[in-house]
Amino acid sequence: MRDNLLKTRVTRWLTFIYLFSLLLASLSLLTCLAATLATTKVSVSPSSITAYVNQDFSIDLVIGDVVDLYGWEFKLSWNPTLLSVVSVIECPFLKTGGNTFFSHNENQDTGHMIVDCTLLGLVPGVNGDGILATITFNVKTAGECPLDLYDVLLLDSFERQIISEAIDGYGNFSASDHDIAITSVYVSPRNVLPGQMVQVNVTAQNQGARAESFNVAAYANSEIIGTQPVSLDSGTSRIIQFTWDTTGHSKGVYTIYANATAVLGEVDMADNNKTADETVTILYNGHDIAISSVEPSKTVVCETYCISIVVTVVNYGLYPESFNVSVNVNSTILETKNTALNSGDSVKLDFIWNTTGFTKGNHVISAYAAPVPGETETGDNFKTDGIVAIAMIGDIIPDGVVDIFDVTTVAVAFGSIPYNPNWNPNADINNDQTVDIFDIVVVALHFGETG
């Protein structure tokens, strides 16, 4: 009897343990299944985009169901014929876990970007849903293309990869119905004496799908020459003539441009303004040359490195002239060049300043054109324009120490060449017209130095 009771109890316990184990196994299986189903998703939002030509639009890179996110990277490609990147901005999701480091690099030619962000230090990653980054594009021309999100790399605080799924976006871009433009501005003659007339021919075009009425104005520098109303059918263009009376205007170089007022519903207003390819020079009735600008290529140059100084000289007189132009650093003549100019012409002269032997600190740059025979207007033969600081090597933010501000300045301009939006000539320390690793290395080698 006692044995039977014991046997029953043991059987009950074994059954309980078996069922409990089965329950645990089932729960583990369910947890694994749930984890598999809850794969982290990174997606372009909105997934379907429509925008007009010349309009900016933004997309978010959204992450969902992430656990312990410490750092992320993604690549995005687009059709560079249709779109150009305006900005890439970090969003606050990762910052909820602490301080972050964010970097991005775009290749506008191939239509690819890579964007990275990481937390800093020994902190846990962040969880949940959020926005990683916002990217703004400008539509260059009509068409459609995918915004292909790929090579998404998510790392947790143990530097392990988080499995994720990338979801693309798709854009459809069209021209606006309303679009007018100034397509050309011609001036004639280019050289005049005060009181003579200049003909300004402005071509306006209706690039939209509907008939439009608008005003066109022409300007000489900031002074208005005149305004005329224009009506154009879709796809047509017309030349509008203006006459500029130069009476009362002093000698000088004048920039002529035209503007068309925007029509209702117009998106592309960048081409509503146009500047004439050639300037108009109002001459002086006699012999007269002048320095019109002095432009050092940098504001900060490192000791022993070279800098270019471009001097623009103009012949305002009625006669061809040959004369000497010199560039001064403080009161020291750097170099003298001879140049010859016909009436109304100008030229840019390039001078190279090797800073070896010059002291650190600010130096005043000036240029002087030696007066020509018969010249009486000599006040503009000398021009001071710009101060150049000589700093110790690597100290491109010249505060006496090579530090993170110098590194960051080079990093911001990294990969740029002249005329790129992020070009900074001061960061091109070695003057090879590219801000590259060689410039970073110069700063890095001198990092921490003071003087």
Binding site: Y70, G71, T110, I114, G121, L445, F447
Partner: protein, 250 residues
Amino acid sequence: MNKTSLIALAMLATVGLALIPNLAGADPAVEQTWVRMRGLVTHYGATPVFGGLWAHARMVDVNDSYREWAGSHAIWSDAPKHINCTEPPTENFTYILYAAKLVNSSMIELNYLEYNFYISGVWNVDKVTFAYYVDENGELISYSWTIEPVVTGAEGELRVLQSWTRFELAITGVDLISGIVVHYAIGHMEIKIGDINSDNMVNIKDLVGVAKKYGAMPALGNYEFEMDFNADYKIDIGDLTTLAANIQAP
């Protein structure tokens, strides 16, 4: 990571040396060779020390115009317990290390004389003394460091020998610095600074690797000299920026 495991890693890396003769996609008008190496400093003269050496070089021939560039620095100390320490200090202490930096290279060669790799140039060597101040709970209150030049503008040679297994750094006026090569790579495409995990690309994996050491300094935090690209004795925003600059869009 302790010294033993680092040496084991070094030996493993030396056995599995990386040679990257990647010519695919190279511009035929540009012949370039990149070299990267990392080493463990084991001796300063006859004194056993612990530290690291980093060198990165580019030799390029563009339409018969030859240019070369090299960067290199080494950090070492005879107080191994403080480098790479993972435990915070619990009392005030000072810590001395030595740092050699290549200022200007004059000659960079592969397979020169009996050396596998050779850089000559001008070096600076500094003695750096850190002072760390902590409270009774081991929390850091402040720190400072002073730099005393040992030699400035001295001629020196970095020589890699014995089939890329050992190196010696001979700088005029200081004892011979020597050690073992833990990794090297030779390529005809750019070998980028910042490829911490040596997978021939610079990406978020490298960035996170450095970010996790953010704020680390010798003897304080998990400092790794090879992540201190600018050799300023601290893993900080400058190193992250240098690395990020090498993450390029396709």
